[in-house]
Point group: C2
Chain length 233, copies 2
Amino acid sequence: MQGRVPLAYTVPSPGTSSDPYVRTERTVPTRHRERASYDRELVHSILDEDYICHLGFVRDGAPVVLPTLYARRGEQVYLHGSTGSRPLREADSGEGLPVCLTVTRVDGLVLARSAFHHSLNYRSVMVHGTAYRVTEDEELTAALDALVDGVVPGRAADSRRADARELAATAVLRLDLTEVSAKVRQGGPSDDAEDLALPHWSGVVPVSRVYGTPVPAEDLAPGTELPAYLKGR
Amino acid sequence: MQGRVPLAYTVPSPGTSSDPYVRTERTVPTRHRERASYDRELVHSILDEDYICHLGFVRDGAPVVLPTLYARRGEQVYLHGSTGSRPLREADSGEGLPVCLTVTRVDGLVLARSAFHHSLNYRSVMVHGTAYRVTEDEELTAALDALVDGVVPGRAADSRRADARELAATAVLRLDLTEVSAKVRQGGPSDDAEDLALPHWSGVVPVSRVYGTPVPAEDLAPGTELPAYLKGR
């Protein structure tokens, strides 16, 4: 099955990284341990393919999960938001904000003969740690560029960069990639032997994210050409 | 701009629902309040379009965010997992598991002339509450069917339903839709007036999730036809 599912991505074989992330109690799953990986290249490849994460933090003892942009630079992940937003104010307290950052790519719907063995093909990354406010100018600017380029590579250089007023209104958080794991499921359904003769179709429906034809802003000056970095998308 | 961005979905006008969700301190955002909605139909439409949520809970005082399947039935959202998994064991304690369940659909990349006004078009739902283990047989079966049909409508009836052993290995959680909000951004970029003459292209790149041609399992009996519910996808 695995060979017949078109893969738009490469999953490094387990153990190819010479320097994997260290496992901790909370990065080793209780279920499907065989799907977990601590491979640095695999983690980077998943993080670099997406730009939206779900950021979890605790407010008044209760969990909150916010969808937000992120970008990786080396062994750091950067997030940004308004200086007035609650999680960013909390991260600014000096002690930082304990977070769990999760990125999930869905690659396929796995249809087994049994309802029980239905599954998804996916690649996900979970980062545990403490996010701190970035205060150093050079790191701040580089992080903001990375956030724009993470969504559309090449765009940061082709837009007006933030001025002093905008920078003052923007908080950037840094989260180190230290307590990290990936989880990957790929391939076809794994039905129980006694179910193979059932008449239900089984296999994988590939899922992907696609980009449509760019739609110009209504106030775009006539004749403004679509930039090359948007043409191939 | 808004009229020119192809919308694959309908967003009910604010206030069309005669019975919106009640606002609470944590469902009113500190930022972009104009994007928030408590419209029941809007919330349902976003939840019904997807099947993967990010579930946040607190473990040992720290946040955890898990990607997982969900399905809505009326004013409940259902989740499932192994009876051995940590969050499901915790939800089974009687007191339930405090969670934040977030669903995010990305509809477009919004490219403004200024880096600062770059944005995403999206529709998201955030549910705060306490998840409880479902113990009643009829509700359990209906929830499992909904979880399968949420991914592929029509599939639950065309697969072998869970037997007693599988049911015993599966925990289903119920989360009531009471403390709920949606957040929606749509339309084009909103550049500052003084940036409109800048030479950078601006507009929206539509984003959507697409399904590829189903790939049969290697052990699928030759001649097994692709079911009708997978053909139009």
